[in-house]
Subunit: 397 residues, 2 copies
């Protein structure tokens, strides 16, 4: 392949990289494309975190072949302090490319050493190595890309040709920009979700529910959504939309919302208005998440048999997000302590959900709930109310 | 410049483009880089919106030179239906590059025609044109990039060389990916801001304030922040953080929040707790926006002279975001109708703010407020309460 078409291929890789907005998928793609582009055996992506490099992902075709598998990308997570004493540490701190024909025979006086642990642990022999800094458009270092054992056409390990260095530098820069974008994206999404959670909790400030209730319902709903066959993206929408289900309680007067005893029928009717109030607050948004949350707010107290509120819808006429959040909310209510009741065990709570299939709940939703039980139990445990207060503090004034 | 270094330059442009996350700046950068890369007189970026192309930006060096100015990027906004009957419309719908040596002398049988209006209106003569589809990594069309009047070294208009077509196609793809990312980013940010507004309004559901109050305070605060010398990014943070200033009112009982008459000193003390409650709801977030909003919630009733609440801070000890939102909130309160008072005119309201400089308000903040007066008046008018209810509906139950 001549230089121009190599560079053209590089541009295509750059376009593909910058289209990926999930950090995990992006890192996989970087290591696969870089190994392919440089015709080498293995590669590692290090991501900078302050004064450390995180060994994010690696891939080695020879090791995979040996165990009869396709070369998979392995997720790692070790955090290594940046210093000139090891290869990627040197590259990240100095911003220099290192092209080493034989890592067991480093140039005399090299400040860095090769760590042979990977070779020992995996019965592998690293020889040639090309390590390139990933710098973004402003020159900030985002990490390092390390490639090992370049192969010639006959499959012999050779040194990386010098001509590939500027191309790999360019690929690494494109990777850096793509990583930075994906990181900013994840940060923005995390901030968004944090806001939704806090404000959903705030809406329950006058109620007895806790911030953990909001979080649990959100995660239960996502787990059920995935088992209903939704894509990861659709299930994420459910996770973002679910916390706001009770936002309409803001419109219920203290005298009813905080009444210690049973409600009169008239009071109960006012209380049930929280579904329509929530819908009014959230309806008509340009944002898909908020439109979905409006649907959830309105429909999460409908029942499969038509005996719910506010509209008495039944069966498939109830929006699917409403059916999913109804399950998540009910399970959390049953399995948590309330001022007026003790929590039921997970087994008992699951039993109640199961026995209400087809009456209160969508039978297909209950099936999905049962398939998601492992995940749901893990959420129940990790976000248990008894662990003490979490920030932001709640539980009324 | 040889082919390889041209392609290398292209990769650098791609890296620069994908680093820009603001759509406006990105479009400017695309048209400038493309004209520079192709050594031509002018360029236009069309962005696809459904079945139309929006003429987003254009730039023409010769026209600028003639009026003695630097070539500026001109923002447009006209929406043109996509069809094969005009050049960019053809390119966007067919996905083909058009390289036309002379637009006044099109190949016989061309389905498209050249629109000479721009030439007539600007006393310009378009001759050569290169129009390239902007397709993203999946091949979806995002728009078209149109370049006019390629120049040789002697400054004569020539045809675009065929060799530049694949390079411009690649540049256009990189531009397409960058535009798509910036659009997704703006969509996510808009959804985030919409959520903050709705939930801030929801928090005021029990109060008499309107959704417009929340929006106005947010925009006033951004305008003041800009005049305080903050960057656009910092001012955007203020805009996102400001709406939540009264979220703590959720923790104030109906009996006090909704009391028609004057509050007793004890009741006033409970009412003033809304600052600390808001802080409790919002504090300790990983997200910068929420940390900023916690600061605003806590500090927006402090006074420059130390006679505010909850902490009685004075002068620079009051966080700057708190001082800015205090101004924005006070101006909106004075200039709006409340159940207990008529609105004051803008002139009167500004006078009150000015006379409270150094007592209630930070004098430097008041100066910034006065400089921002034009913008503030425009916001006041465009979001007036008297225009009737806006979605989401508010104003108590």
């Amino acid at each position: 392949m001549d230089a121009t078409s190599l560079v053209g291929r590089l541009a295509d890789i750059g376009i593909a990289l910058t289209s990926i907005r999930s950090l995990d998928r992006l890192l996989e793609h970087i290591v696969v494309q870089a190994c392919d582009f440089a015709s080498c055996d293995g590669g590692t992506v290090y991501i900078r975190e302050g004064e450390c490099l995180r060994l994010a992902v690696w891939r080695n075709a020879a090791l995979a072949r040996r165990s009869g598998r396709q070369a998979e990308v392995v997720r790692e997570g070790r955090l290594l302090p940046i210093s000139s004493r090891w290869i990627a540490g040197y590259v990240a701190s100095e911003g220099q490319v290192l092209n080493l024909p034989d890592v067991y025979c480093l140039p005399p006086g090299s400040p860095f050493a090769f760590d042979p642990n990977f070779d020992r642990e995996n019965d592998y022999h690293t020889r040639s190595m090309l390590c390139v800094p990933m710098n973004d458009a402003t020159g900030d270092n985002v990490g390092a890309l390390q490639l090992v054992n370049a192969m010639d056409r006959a499959g012999r390990v050779v040194a990386f040709p010098a001509a590939i260095e500027p191309l790999m530098r360019s690929l690494a820069s494109q990777a850096a920009v793509a990583i930075r974008n994906a990181q900013l994206d994840e940060k923005l999404k995390a901030a968004y979700f944090d806001t939704i959670l806090r404000l959903s909790v705030a809406a329950e400030y006058r109620d007895t529910d806790t911030s953990r209730h909001v979080r649990r319902v959100s995660l239960y709903a996502e787990a059920i959504a995935l088992e209903c066959g939704m894509t990861a993206e659709q299930a994420e929408l459910v996770r973002f939309a679910a916390p706001m289900h009770d936002i309409g309680k803001l419109g219920v007067p203290d005298a009813i919302l905080l009444k210690p005893g049973a409600l009169t029928p008239a009071e109960r009717q006012v209380m049930q208005e929280h579904t329509r109030i929530g819908y009014d607050i959230l309806k008509d948004s340009d944002a898909e998440v908020i439109r979905a949350s409006a649907e959830v707010a309105l429909a999460h107290h409908e029942r499969w048999d038509g005996r719910g509120y506010p509209s008495g819808l039944s069966g498939d006429a109830i929006p699917s997000l409403g059916r999913i959040v109804a399950l998540a909310d009910a399970f959390d209510c049953i399995s948590s302590r309330r001022v007026y009741k003790e929590p039921k065990s997970v087994d008992e709570s699951v039993g109640i959900i199961r026995s209400d299939s087809g009456s209160h709940f969508d039978p297909a939703g209950v099936e999905a709930f049962l398939r998601a039980r492992g995940r749901i139990e893990a959420i129940h445990e990790s976000l248990a109310d008894d662990d003490g207060p979490v920030s932001p503090p709640t539980g009324g004034r």
